[in-house]
């Protein structure tokens, strides 16, 4: 591990500080998503039929594939962080790039989905059309849908950039100096993944049987 910053007595202490800092940051992030989840709970409670009708217009196939893609990416990140600990820089590099690649696949699929939704007039502020009587509830649903998945996509984009930077930096210099940072990056990645695990059922799977 690299030398600690001068105000830490040891690298171990610095690692602990970084880890706690990351967890606090993730708590903040969770609260940041909070109003959207509360808004969703309000809408679903008040307009359960409208939200179910709107949810049936989401692309459950792409949504499901994307869930699998993202969960797999988290596996690669976990393996990558492990490889760093074992001082296997080349393997870590490939694993993190795979994770970033899967993240990019997710974004491309998400983009295709957005495109289809735009063509089907499901974007609330761009010529939105939805069959009566649920047009208002559906507008609210898609407002939340784009808000939540959009915010998630922004987070994922940052995650991809971070993983690519790690992969580049793993190409030169001692691997161990990055252990701390990659651990933190991995935590962040898993958090973004975890948010999606909640978004997928509440957006795609509302009363699908109907």
């Amino acid at each position: 591990m690299s030398a600690p910053a001068e105000h830490f007595e040891s690298a171990e202490r610095q690692h602990q500080a970084a880890e706690l800092g990351m967890w606090v940051f993730l708590a903040t992030e969770l609260m940041f998503f909070g109003p959207l989840f509360l808004g969703y709970a309000y809408g679903r409670w008040s307009f359960s039929e409208g939200f179910a009708a709107a949810s049936r217009h989401t692309d459950v196939v792409i949504g499901t594939i994307n869930t699998a893609v993202l969960l797999t990416s988290s596996l690669f990140v976990a393996l990558g962080a492990r490889a760093v600990k074992l001082d296997r820089g080349a393997a870590a590099r490939v694993l993190l790039l795979c994770a970033a690649g899967l993240g990019a696949v997710f974004l491309v699929l998400k983009g295709l989905e957005y495109h289809d939704e735009w063509r089907e007039h499901l974007v609330p502020w761009l010529d939105f059309r939805f069959a009566r009587p649920h047009q208002h509830a559906a507008a609210m649903f898609y407002f939340l849908y784009f808000g939540m998945t959009g915010l998630h996509a922004v987070h994922l984009t940052i995650g991809i950039a971070v993983m690519v930077v790690f992969a580049v930096r793993l190409g030169s210099g001692p691997v161990a100096r990055l252990e701390n940072q990659i651990d933190m990056g991995a935590l962040y990645w898993h958090f973004v993944d975890g948010i999606w695990v909640f978004l997928y059922p509440i957006l795609y799977l509302v009363e699908r049987h109907g």
Binding site: A5, E6, H7, F8, E9, R13, Q16, A17, L20, G21, V24, F25, A27, T28, E29, M31, F32, F33, G34, P35, L36, L38, G39, Y42, G43, S46, F47, P124, W125, F128, H136, A137, A139, M140, F143, L144, G147
Partner: protein, 555 residues
């Protein structure tokens, strides 16, 4: 300088180190600093600027209210003035006031650390604050915003013709500076305490800022997202607050107050921390019930998250919700009262010296008590129906935020001024200013309780003639208060440049910050101290234990 007995008792300590103020004199050395002490000063300068900007808005408001007719400004300008006053004072002065200045400066010193955990984030937080501030200044130049600091929907999203989006962006941005400050403090307190500095040896100022930080990181992001939703809804006319779509303005109020009620504790907990440092020092006694004080701080922070609905008793929330929120609000009074009783018990049989900082701290306790007790009036559902949106509410929260927080902030500035700038302030002027502020404050805001109880609504630029006399009292008080605030601006600045050199521990106070030279060197401690006892080792005989007694250099 620094020839103090207290320091001679510290064997092995390197004295006469270069102070943090002399570590570079260029603008660049300040703007790119990562020293928590310099960042504290950057914050102090910025928030002082915003304090007087917000104060200017308040002055025009009080001038308008001198007479019942709307003769100084028109109704729309008046709306913009009280909005500017609220937005600036809440987010650009009160929230960062004690944590970002005194907290930033003192927390590492008090726990025996060389820095905060993340110095770069600390500097980033000041830049984010500044960026948010620029947005607010642009908002004002562009013509202001008229929603009130609460940005209630649907007025803010559908009807207001002012710069809501710009203002909301400013508040959104400044929120992240709060989050970074909170994050930094939490990690610093957890991970950078000196050997022997156990949780129950932490000064209560550190406890208070720690609890504040928990609120900052958990509540602020909710406000950020809520205000984003307001801005988005205003721009696109689609959203979850719009009644036309089946959305609910009450949802906005729930989200807004989920942040903004805990925000009151963001403002007042650090003030309690300051009082808990000053009072034992000038009563020469250990703080009474130290552990209970620490638990009370945490209790206030936690229960404070569960009381937001008391702002919505007349907004149409369910009656049962109102009852629950009312009871929980009464519950907050318990730890608050514990603190007031314990400060009082600390004074009991102490050998009290009435110095400038002590006057401010005593003023804080008294005004906080009045503000807190009148809060209970407002937490009672039936009475609140009568008092909602009257001047009673205005008086109540000004007693907490201005009487409480600003008094304590000024007290803290005086108390630690010798440490911060290495020079002594003029004691008599400080006493005069403290008394002036106390009188001016009460004259301004006590009449507002009566006005509110008699039914004068807030947020109008005109009022019925029978309210004039008390409003004249209030405006006169505001003028006195304004003079009171200008005094410290003058003499503290003078002291910074021309005051007598301060010894390292002018008050004979305990606490690690007093064991560093005044002003401290860049790395705070030449040798990280090893702490062997609790924070308030005062003895009433007047013969203070040398400050060095609380710590000895690490072997």
């Amino acid at each position: 300088m620094n020839a103090l007995p207290a320091e001679q008792s510290l064997p092995g300590k390197v004295l006469h180190e270069e102070s943090y103020l002399r570590e570079g004199f260029t603008l660049r050395s300040w703007l790119l600093t990562r020293d928590h002490k310099r960042i504290a000063l950057l914050y102090m300068i910025s928030i002082t600027g915003f304090f007087f900007l917000g104060g200017a808005a308040a002055s025009i408001i009080r001038l308008e209210l001198l007479t019942p007719a709307g003769d100084v400004v028109d109704a729309e300008t008046y709306n913009k003035l009280f909005t500017a006053h609220g937005v600036i004072m809440v987010w650009f002065f009160l929230i960062p006031s004690i944590p970002a200045t005194l907290g930033n400066f003192l927390i590492p010193l008090m726990i025996g650390a060389r820095e905060v955990a993340f110095p770069r984030l600390n500097l980033a937080s000041w830049y984010i604050y500044t960026l948010g501030g620029i947005f607010v200044v642009i908002t004002l130049i562009a013509g202001g915003v008229d929603t009130g600091w609460t940005f209630y929907t649907p007025f803010s999203t559908l009807f207001s013709n002012s710069n809501v989006v710009l203002a909301v962006m400013g508040v959104f941005i400044v929120g992240f500076s709060s989050i970074l400050t909170g994050l930094n403090f939490i990690v610093t307190v957890h991970r950078l305490r000196a050997p022997g500095m156990t949780w129950f040896r932490l000064p209560l100022f550190v406890w208070a800022n720690y609890a504040t930080s928990l609120i900052l990181v958990l509540a602020t992001p909710v406000l950020a997202m809520t205000l984003s939703l307001v801005a988005f809804e205003r721009l696109t006319h689609i959203g979850i607050f719009d009644p036309a779509l089946g959305g609910d303005p009450l949802l906005f109020q729930h989200l807004f107050w989920f942040y903004s009620h805990p925000a009151v504790y963001i403002m007042v907990l650090p003030a309690m921390g300051v009082a808990s440092e000053i009072i034992p020092c000038f009563a020469r006694k250990q703080v009474f019930g130290y552990r209970m004080m620490a638990y009370a701080i945490l209790g206030i922070a936690i229960i404070g998250f569960l009381v937001w609905g008391h702002h919505m008793f007349v907004s149409g929330q369910s009656m049962y919700a109102s009852i629950a929120f009312s009871l929980l609000s009464f519950l907050v009074a318990i730890p608050s009262a514990i603190k007031v009783f314990n400060w009082t018990a600390t004074l009991y049989k102490g050998s009290i010296s009435v110095s400038g900082p002590m006057l401010y701290a005593l003023g804080f306790v008294g005004l906080f008590t009045i503000g807190g007790l009148t809060g209970l009036f407002l937490a009672a559902t039936a009475l609140d129906v009568h008092l909602t949106d009257t001047y009673f509410v205005v008086a109540h929260f000004h007693y907490i935020m201005v009487g409480g927080t600003v008094m304590a902030y000024l007290g803290g500035l005086h108390f630690w001024w010798p440490k911060i700038v290495g020079r002594l302030y003029p004691e008599n002027l400080a006493r005069i200013a403290a008394v002036t502020i106390f009188i001016g404050f009460n004259l301004t805001f006590f009449p507002q309780y009566l006005l509110g109880a008699w039914g004068m609504p807030r947020r109008y630029h005109e009022y019925a003639p029978q309210f004039q006399l008390l409003n004249e009292f209030s405006s006169t008080g505001a003028a006195i208060l304004g003079i009171g605030y200008l005094l410290p601006l003058g003499y503290l600045t003078w002291a910074m440049l021309r005051g007598a050199r301060a010894p390292s521990n002018p008050w004979g106070a305990t606490g690690l910050e007093w064991e560093t030279p005044s002003p401290p060197p860049k790395e705070n401690f030449a040798v990280i101290p090893r702490v062997v006892r609790g924070p308030y080792d005062y003895h009433p005989s007047g013969a203070s234990a040398p400050s060095g007694a609380s710590a000895e250099p690490q072997a």
